[in-house]
Amino acid sequence: MRLKSEKWLNILLVSPSIIAVLIFVYGFILWSVRVSLSQWKGLMPDYTWAGLQNYRDLFNDPRFHIDIRNTIIFTTLFVGGCLVIGIFLAILLDQGLRGETFFRNLFLFPMAISFIVTGVVWRWLMNPALGGRISGFNLLFDSLGLDFLINRWYTVPNWGMAAIALPAIWQMSGYTMALYLGGLRAIPESLREAARMDGANEWQIYTNIIFPLLRPITLSALIILGHISLKVFDLIVAVAGKQLPLDVPAIYMWQTTFDGNFYGRGAAIGILLLLSVAILVVPYIRYTTRTETEQ
């Protein structure tokens, strides 16, 4: 009797969230799917059936090809950069140095600031001008005699997107560090001691014991960083404005919908973005639920 009423209470407790999510997430997604299959172009809704035409057009659209290329470049560098710097800093801070708290907070703080705020600063820092108008990092490198580091930043043809990963890494690497630090602290000292007893050197301890144990953390960091990078929008607009060499799907979607009134095409880009996120996320969700059942 009590069990039964508690079952209903369970459902009652989660139902507001579920209803809200059903409307605000799935309702809106369904709406987008429907729009993406329509001919809607112009201010007012036009749900005339267009089949997959918007999707087919996108696959032949040179701009969308640039978007895909840029997304791949950005995601690889951003996620890779955050993971490498994150684990590096976490291992450094795990050595029991003095001032650890200070460094931890310092590395975490960029996450607190929005790109609406820091975007312009990065735009200045990565100013690509050379010669007489040199400024930003290039000017710094110039006066430090590090001329080989001077580069054109985000205006490098085809690879400009790589520079945009830098501010993104600046923002999220501290967070990745915190995740890894948490993981390192959770590994019992006894494990390392035992390995040392067996004659393993520090490097072997890391590669054979610690890194494998950190794998679940890498996985969840991968998901969080991955979905941020697929949706990246504010950062690019703040740093570089809207320009084609640095175009990504989210910017194309925004511009084509609200600057160009191509609602059907915009919705199709949104759905493709969502699908690519799903490819990343669904296996992760299945993995976590499966490992939990095993436990």
């Binding site: 009590r2 369970n10 407790l13 989660v14 969230s17 579920i18 809200a20 999510v21 605000f24 997430v25 309702g27 809106f28 709406w31 987008s32 800093l89 050595q95 140095l97 708290t101 907070n105 310092l106 590395f107 703080f109 996450m111 607190a112 929005s114 609406i116 705020v117 312009v120 200045w124 820092l125 108008r133 040199i134 400024s135 930003g136 710094l140 501290g174 915190a178 995740l179 948490g182 993981g183 959770a186 679940p216 969840s220 998901i223 969080i224 979905h227 929008f233 504010d234 989210a250 979607m253 919908t257 880009i269 949104g270 759905i271 969502l274 996120v277 996320v281 669904v282 969700i285 639920t289």
Partner: protein, 274 residues
């Protein structure tokens, strides 16, 4: 013995200091520019300190932002509290009371974290308009609460999953109800997870621009929108803009400085670990 260990480790400060500089450079440029006069702003001299430090820009920025500061506070506190409370309840139910379908419901909720917000603005505006919340802070709060549910639920569910089932079984045998278990056993030990989630949601809502700009009217603009407004579409006073940027970021920075320790402790204790 100890001294040699310390000496051996001293070189570790080198990479740490290098990273410190990397993390602080943007902040330095922001403040440095904020203290300059408009005529002194030139990309070529961005590294040079201002000829004379003037706090006028900060005063001007404060005047422009102050009316909207309160809106941000009114927005962020309920948004963070409600979504955390909901997340905690969801996490509890989904982690500890596996009713039929719970395994489907969790991923269904979680997936909401990943939608690109730019693509759902049109139905969002229409929906808010239909329920009469368009333009108000209430509508914006509701939006932040709802799109916060996935991350808060995820955090609490993972956090509660680490709590041994025996503890709960024991309480049930003692006659505790489902909500009693939550109130007396889980809630008291949830502080680290709450800190993580509250900070996360505080930051997200405070820094949000996209939802705020499309959902609120002038009277209810939060500080990010006001900050954006300080820049005319034609002439941008970068010094005032930078000063304003710093002021707008202060509350979140303060939260991180004051609660950073708990935030890390929460992160390390299993929340947000997936």
């Amino acid at each position: 013995m100890r001294a040699t260990v310390m000496q051996r480790k001293n070189w570790l400060y080198l990479p740490l200091l290098a990273m410190t500089i990397f993390y602080l450079i943007p902040l330095f440029i922001m403040l440095n520019t904020g203290f300059k006069s408009f005529a002194e702003i030139d990309l070529k001299t961005m590294w040079q300190l201002p000829r004379e430090f003037s706090t006028d820009n900060f005063a001007a920025a404060y005047r422009a932002l102050a009316p909207h500061l309160w809106n941000s506070v009114k927005l962020v506190i309920p948004a963070a509290l409600i979504s955390s409370a909901l997340g905690s309840l969801n996490g509890y139910v989904l982690a500890k009371w596996k009713f039929p379908g719970a395994d489907i419901i969790f991923p269904v909720i979680l997936f909401g974290m990943f939608i690109p917000y730019q693509s759902i603005l049109i139905p969002l505006v229409s929906f808010m308009d239909q329920i009469g919340l368009y333009g108000s802070l209430g509508g914006l709060i509701l939006t932040h609460v709802i799109y916060g549910i996935p991350i808060t639920t995820l955090t609490f569910r993972n956090y509660y999953a680490t709590i041994p089932g025996e503890l709960i079984e024991a309480a049930k045998i003692d006659g505790a109800t489902m909500l009693g278990v939550y109130r007396h056993i889980l809630l008291p030990i949830s502080i680290p997870a709450f800190v993580v989630v509250l900070i996360w949601q505080f930051t997200a809502a405070w820094n949000d621009f996209l939802f705020a700009v499309v959902l609120t009217n002038n009277a209810n603009w939060p500080i990010t929108v006001a900050l954006n407004n300080m820049a005319g579409s034609q002439i941008i006073a970068w010094n005032v803009q930078m000063a304003g940027s710093f002021l707008a970021a202060l509350p979140t920075l303060l939260v991180y400085v004051l609660l950073g320790r708990y935030f890390l402790r929460g992160l390390m204790s299993g929340a947000l670990k997936g």
